[in-house]
Amino acid sequence: MARKVFSEYQSKAFLRECGIEFPQEFLATSKAESAKMAEKMGFPVVLKGCGEGIAHKTEKNLVRLNLKDKTSVESAYEDLTSSGEKIDGIIVQKFVPGKREFIAGILKDQQFGYCVMFGLGGIFTEILRDVTFRLSPISTVDAEEMLHELKHSRLLGEFRGEQAINMKKLLDLLCKLSEVPLKKKNVIEVDLNPLIPWENNIYIVDALVVTEDEGKN
């Protein structure tokens, strides 16, 4: 069994094929390129080290948020490329300023097969454990029920000056995510983490895909 942990860039490409949308981003392989892309996109931006096998970027200190000008982008680039991790390139992304973070994902349970998850994301995910699961694929009704099960479902509403999360988009996203295993038979884990609601959209800022292929030739 060959297990593969996709890079962020590869993960998003993989999931785009299943109809999941991500904000525009670039993979820069030089400092000049990263600065050029950041300017083209408009500040503030985020830079992230991207490489196969890298699952937890924050823990590995591979994320630089809210970079507001060219100088800070360039120094972030240098910083990330000298981290010692095996990196394919640096992702340049528009910074999403939303205050709330959610997580959605797919896992393959030994007994029940593919499941979809949704819950509170960000740095307290593992502590709060406010997540719900359903067997995949799900209907919109199932997705709605998942959201109601969250202990802190009120976080989906208006929050500290931010508008309520776009419910239709969230339900669509969960349904679509739950269908990924129908299209990609070798997937065993997916993380969309964090999902950040901002204005009328939900931005999937980071993604991780893990596949497992039978060891046959």
Binding site: L107, C115, E189
Partner: protein, 498 residues
Amino acid sequence: MKEKIRYLFYPESIAVVGASTNPSKWGFVVLNNIVTSGYKGRIYAVNPGANAIGGIKCYKKINDLPEGAHLAVITLPREKVFDALKECIAKGVKSIMVITSGYSEAGKDHAELENKLVSLCRDAGIPMAGPNGQGIFNSFINLSATMAYYNIKPAKISFVSQSGNMGNTMIEWAKKYSMGFGKFISSGNEAMLKTEDYYDYFKDDPDTDVVISYIEGVDDGRRFFEKARELAKKKPLIILKSARTSQGKKSAESHTGAMAGSFDIFKAAVWQAGGILVQNAEEMGDAAFAFLHQPLPKGRKVGAVSEGGGWAVLVADALTEEGLELPAFPQELIAEFNKILPFYWSRNNPVDLVAERGEGIYEKVTELMASSKNVDIFMSLGVGYWYGAAFKIADSKLIEESMKGTLIDYIKANGIHQAKHLIELWKRLNKTVICASDIMLSDDFQKNEALKLLIDNGIFVYPTPDRAAKAVARLCWYAEYLRRREKQQLTDYSSSGA
């Protein structure tokens, strides 16, 4: 296979294979319980060494039986089981319950023997329950082919349990509260017939209105889910799962993978299927008794009356915590209550009847509140108090003996009238009616004819307000689950899985 499972629950003839003359052996106990429970079908005993056990004639071999019995209960030592099953099949036996232990439950080395039994029965197309199951109970035909024999009135509750003694627990539970019970099967190792196969059978069984299920583990999660979902679409399915606290494996790369404990996924599957999860036997009984006779509520609005202030406040807390609503009453309803209740009544929901003993007050308040459009669920707390007052009169050292008889008769008649009125109202309005009374805390409730009347007519009386509130919440949850799906087509799940 589904149709053939009927032979397990409704056999017209039973052969106990491995019947014993020794009262300490399963082979005696099961035969004894079948006879003692009053089973009316044909009973055969197979024992090569005895002529008869009690009045039951013994046959030396299965082949000697006058017919292929509908059900063969196997209590033989393990080494004789395989051959016995072969003989049963050759004889034309229709279904088999293997009580004998020492198979997969004893470890991997013993699983092979179990697989052989399965192959044999599968090839012959014969349903086999067990092995290592405790037996089958069906009150509708007075059948106790089990370790214990049960004497309980029939009710349309069917129980599939992965543990034999949980059957005993639930039947005792029902008996404690004068409730009935229907069927119970101890599914044992589920070598061939799994929990979900019984779901499939209960789904179409006319003597089943509520299914309860005790689960330690499932083999094929997707199949379990599909069958549970099909059942829950038609009938309430209440599940008690043990081993809830064990954590899943932690070898995941993703956050999603790391967040999933094994019970998290099981719970999700049950909820998605429309099953009701409970924490213990008490909750399982409480839920089953509510689902058995109560119509599903149309909404979450509760109107409640209480004989006493403490319970009124406690039930308000419990209902609110369970996500139910206690709406304020409209002015016109308050005006009606003003005409009936003393001037100092609370004007809140729940209405505290302040132990007001005026004749007909309870009936009038109940009628008005339960009929209100503002009320989906009517709750009555302290039922049976009035009738119970008669016992206090009887014990009184102040009231003259010559006066007591008339007074007691009057009070009892009123208590009965209240109960009859509530039953009539319940049937007329077809609304959810939930009762609670602390009289249920002791066995004295058996003497309270008003309470007995409610229970015998299908209105269960909960011993505490919070247990009542929890049962109501479960009715609401299931009603809403069904309503949401009536509006929308279900996803097709058949194409995916592990």
